[in-house]
């Protein structure tokens, strides 16, 4: 199956104040196919967020190729990477990161504003209805429960018909009773829409629910992706 996300020989490092270079990522290869669901495990500080930033084009890799739906991000300038992120990827954050001054419906519409298509109010309402928020369209985030906020975040991630959703610790900020709801919501929604799902988590009870699990582990000070059958090459 055609991979939606492909990484090969990706390296990322940061310059430290003393002039030293801190190597953070060293990914030989990784691929996520269309409709595939994958959990990416790793300890805090293992480089999970950096990896998501590189995949989404927020950060540029120092070396290697990051290909999203056959588009090589490493060849694009920032504005074009932004466009690819808006059109091809949906992001769900640990803190939900809803825009506080906007209603649930507007939060979804804002995401549509930056995509290639025109903002579609009807579709935004359908997405919110699909996550059970048909009666909370005009509520601002402060008027929504934690679970409802996370649902808005999922609906927003799906706004531009993405090929993949990247979820960064989506259950880290919510209580145990809601964690399962969020995972079910993400998996079910992505399955219905045929969207690939990459969930970053440090919780084994979350990762275990995914058909594919990979781990970020430190190797020669840089994080590498390790699969069930060994290091990804």
């Amino acid at each position: 199956m055609q991979p939606v996300i492909e990484l090969s020989h990706v390296r990322k490092s940061f310059a430290m104040p003393g002039g030293e270079t801190l190597s953070v990522l060293d990914i030989e290869s990784f691929a996520l196919s269309q409709g595939e669901h994958c959990a990416l495990e790793g300890q805090s500080g293992s480089g999970k967020s950096t990896l998501l930033n590189v995949i989404s084009g927020i950060m540029r890799a120092d070396a290697g190729r990051v290909v999203i739906d056959s588009i090589d991000l490493s060849e694009l300038d920032e504005a074009r990477r932004d466009r690819v992120r808006a059109d091809k990827l949906g992001l769900v954050f640990q803190q939900f990161n809803l825009l506080p001054g906007f209603t649930a419906l507007e939060n979804v519409l804002v995401a549509m504003t930056f995509g290639s298509g025109r903002p579609d109010r009807q579709r935004a309402m359908q997405l919110l209805a699909a996550v059970g928020l048909h009666d909370r369209l005009h509520h601002k985030p402060t008027a929504l429960s934690v679970g409802q906020q996370q649902r808005v975040a999922v609906a927003r991630a799906l706004a531009n018909r993405p090929r993949a959703i990247l979820a960064d610790e989506p259950t880290a900020s919510i209580d145990a009773s809601h964690q399962q709801q969020v995972i079910d919501l993400l998996r079910n929604t992505c399955s219905q829409q045929g969207v690939a799902l990459l969930v970053v988590t440090h919780a084994p009870e979350v990762a275990v629910q995914f058909p594919r699990r990979v781990r970020l582990e430190e190797f020669n000070r840089a994080a590498v992706i390790v699969g069930g059958e060994g290091r990804f090459q």
């Binding site: 967020s49 927020i58 932004d82 992120r85 808006a86 059109d87 954050f93 001054g101 804002v110 995401a111």
Partner: protein, 463 residues
Amino acid sequence: MTLVGIAWRNIRQRALSSGLTALSLALGVALVVATLVTGGIVQKAFESGSGLGYNMIVGAKGSPLQLVLNSVYFISRPIENISWSTYQSFLPAAERADGMDGAFAASTKTAVPICMGDYFRSFRVVGTNAAMFDRLTCGDGKAFKFASGVNFRDADFFGGVLGVTVAAKTGLKVGDPFAPTHGADDGKVHDPFRVIGILARTDTPIDRGVFVNMEGFYLQEGHAKPVSPQLDSPSAGVEREQVAQSPVHQARGQDAQPDPQHSQSAAHGQQPLPFAQREVTAILLETASLPGLPAELTAMGLRTTINEGRDAQAALPIGEIRQLLDLFVRPMELFLLLVTTLVVVVSAMGILVSMVGSSLERSRDVAIMRALGARRSHVLTTVLIEAVLLAAGGGLAGWVLGHLLVGAVGPWITSNAGVSASVFSMSPGPEALLVPFLVLLAIGAAILPAIAAYRTDVAKWLQ
């Protein structure tokens, strides 16, 4: 949702600081609008007096500006009076007792005498003749119109015409009597005149004037020039008869009708004051063109000749008013405009302060939008649009507020300056530039926050 929609949401999200910023802009703009409009009204008030159908004023020697202010605007005091013979020197043979053209008759198209010194409830009383409203105009060549009644007739010695402001303030109607007082409001009360007509609004100082037949004016106590005793002798009666039989009096008497309600001269049984006992405060002149000479040169020549003489001076109202405007009014207006513009600039800086103050909150929102795919240009544009919306909103609110302010003091301006001032009074040129200027200022003020938004580190703010 568009970038404008996002910007508007951002403004609403920070409703208090945005509202205060817009309010300070609105107050600044309201001040500028009020200054501009009031300046325009003041200018109009002065310029309105230069289009009354005459181009020269002849009066006693002294300050030409004082002559103009007193004769045209009914402010300041008369310098002195000039002789009746000076007035007659502008009259053609047909209007003179001796049947000869006056020395300046050829250069004169219309000469209207005015006599001042009396008041009616703080309004200036002007003794004149019917030519004031029959032959002069109320600006731009338009003939005077009467809201009610008609012009007084020269034969009706105790007829009067009121400006619209006077009528409104005093409540006088056509047919009502009114008695001027001598020299001041608390001066001796004269014999009453009767209102023959009330002028329609002219938006000139005429609106604030009480105009009476100068024949009746002359007959009031203290208005006759003291002369040698023989004028009180039997020969004086002979001269009164000459005055009554002079061509001008006969000509003006022809249209006189024995209307007991309007014509009080007959009821008083009074004869006109002898010429020797007459003076005028000023003469309003519409100059003519001498054969072969342009009108301007004729006027300049006449003015020079009069000013070189010993009896009187000639002043050009337009020139004096322009000088007054250039020397005092415009610099004052410019100063006020400068101060109020500074207020607006400081208010525009409020946008910068407001945006910098909310930069932490904004950085997080910007990072979220960037993560959703917004380009740097999107967030920069959104911040600038926010500033433009605040400036345009505050500016337009201020524009309305400024006009409401002028509208609120409009009645006071109208009654005191004789120029209509309302919520719709405009100063079109500068006003049209005000909001665009403010928007440019706002964009300038928002550049720094916009660049900060442009440079927001997404990864840092989303950790």
